[in-house]
Amino acid sequence: MGRYVVQRMGYMVITLLIIVTITFFLMQLLPGTPFSNPEKLSERQLELMSAKYGLDKPLAIQYMTYIGNLIQGDLGLSFQSEGRTVISMIGDRIGPSALIGGQAVVIGVLCGFILGVISALKHNTIFDYGSVFVAVIGMSIPSFVFAALMQYYIGVQWGLLPVALWKDYSYSIMPSLALSAMVIATVARFIRSEMLEVLGQEFVTTARAKGITEFVVIIRHVLRNALIPVVTVLGPLTVSIMTGTLVIEKIFAVPGLGEQFTLSILVNDYSVILGITLFYSALFIFIVFIVDILYGILDPRISMGGGKKDAA
């Protein structure tokens, strides 16, 4: 197990390095430079600015410098916000994003779980069709539509929650709900199909044949087995939450990481774009790693790191 973890860490570092490299060079394809946007600078000023940030050096040198700093845990300075380090900018912005993302996951997983379980247990009944319908809606309607609808009804018409901006906790509720639709749909669909599959397996009949109650059969035998593969959706879910926040934070004017990211792309703030990309990637890779570990713990059939499980 220990060896497996170390090995995986190694792969994670390599993956990140590849992502940084690709992003670094792709970014050069963005139209303009960090200094072409705001106000007109003279030739001389531009040269001075470029020299200050090292942009006058050959690309290879710039790349090497960046990687060198990265290894020391330094993501560099922002090109646009005077004197701010990228790390401190991410630090400032992560709170609201983590809050709405986290809440969306909790709401989504809970509701999706309930919908999925009902669907499977009441297979081919009106309950099943109802939850499948909800899931399809959540899957096919983009989150910004939910966001707009909620802003109009909950925010404007009924005045229950603030429409936008970010002052206190109540401002986080609507963005979280808008984000969670997708999560609910994904989780519900997945749990439904996993449970249906497990319910059709012979060991469930064996369990029933022992005379234990249906409730215990479902909890102890069906759910346990159905939930193991469900942990694998955590990876794709993280991605959809991250991409979701890009849009949702803009709509609700949440000062989060996603909003910063879109902003930085618009103004060619290279170091911030790189930094946030790196952060998102690291988060995703980390979650995939956690899912793998969890899977190994939950499913006794999987042995990690070549640990031998002998067959009699």
Partner: protein, 341 residues
């Protein structure tokens, strides 16, 4: 023979499916006596498992319809039992062993726990006692180092060992009836013999009645005193082992016996398969289900279902050939477990 412990009478089971109604079991009747082993034999799809599962209400509730019949155990009709009542029967009075030990154990639960589950439910005992009893049971069915193996998961066992675990689970609460649905089909030949012997031994000790389902006549000879031959959802012939093997009356039984390899059989004698394939049970009509494949078919067979004709106290066949006015026909020469030379 002794008294009847389980009596299935005129059972009709059908399934509501997307492609229509499937009448999987039609008018099946049989008795299981105390301490005996009754084998149900028949081709794949003939409704053996459906019959077995309906006894313990293990068929999917939503799609299954039990149209008529009764399953009497201990003076009551099990078909009328509600959830709570049937749970008290399952595992405690009647237990079941399934075909494929690879899929009939929960892959994520330690086998000890799986054996203990039924014990705790039915015997009202504490975990510690249940554990002790489970170790005894596993030892009894021939699992070495049972105490350590309690903590193993099913994938750490071979097929034969798993089937032993399944049998231990089934026998945990000393059931009066054991239903074994093709308990050895998924196992290789040497393991098959071991498992069958184990079941026989345990039966000797506990006096359990066994209903064994199989399409392997070798298993039948090894285990059963009586046989019910099933075809397309109906029992076409019942009798003792001797009666079915030496004096079979139904053309389907003849075909079944001819198509089976026998031990010590001259290799040059070819096996004779039954021509055609089983009828689509969703399209069944009024006549004999075997009419379409029967080499001795008569006009009457197509339109009228033959009743069971009692040949001896223990032997009955549902075939028009047994009717008084039917023409005398010559049975095929070499049938059964032994050639009649």
């Amino acid at each position: 023979m002794g008294e009847t412990i389980l009596s299935v009478d005129n059972l009709d089971v059908s399934f509501q499916t997307n492609s229509g109604l499937i009448k999987a079991v039609r008018g099946v009747s049989f008795d299981l006596k105390k301490g005996e082993t009754l084998a149900i034999v028949g081709e794949s799809g003939s409704g053996k498992s459906v019959t077995a599962k309906s006894i313990m209400q293990l068929l999917p509730k939503q799609s299954t319809r039990i149209d008529s019949g009764s399953i009497v155990y201990g003076g009551n009709d099990l078909l009328e039992y509600g959830n709570k009542e049937i749970e008290k029967i399952r595992g405690k009075e009647i237990a079941m062993v399934f075909q494929d030990p690879m899929t009939s154990l929960n892959p994520t639960m330690k086998i000890g726990k799986q054996v203990m589950e039924g014990l705790i439910k039915h015997n009202n005992i504490r975990k510690k006692e249940a554990k002790k009893r489970s170790i005894e049971l596993l030892t009894e069915v021939g699992i070495p180092y049972a105490e350590e193996r309690m903590n193993s998961f099913p994938h750490e066992f071979s097929g034969g060992m798993r089937q032993r675990v399944v049998i231990a689970m089934a026998l945990a609460c000393d059931p009066k009836v054991l239903i074994a649905d093709e308990p050895t089909t998924a196992l290789d030949v040497t393991i098959q013999a071991q498992i069958l012997n184990l079941m026989k031994e345990l039966q000797k000790k506990t006096g359990t009645s066994i209903l064994i389902i199989t399409h392997d006549l070798g298993v039948v000879v090894n285990m059963a005193q009586r046989i019910a031959v099933m075809y397309a959802g109906e029992i076409v012939e019942t009798g003792t082992l001797r009666e079915i093997f030496y004096k079979p009356k139904h053309p389907y039984t003849w075909g079944l016996l001819q198509s089976m390899p026998k031990m010590h059989q001259d290799q040059s004698v070819p096996l004779i398969p039954i021509a055609g394939s089983p009828p689509d049970v969703s399209l069944m009509h009024d006549g004999c289900p075997f009419a379409a494949r029967c080499p001795y078919v008569m006009k009457v067979c197509h339109n009228h279902k033959p009743d069971q004709t009692q040949i001896s106290v223990t032997h009955a066949a549902a075939c028009w050939l047994e009717d008084d006015w039917a023409p005398e026909i010559k049975q095929p020469e070499k049938i059964g477990g032994v050639s009649n030379s």
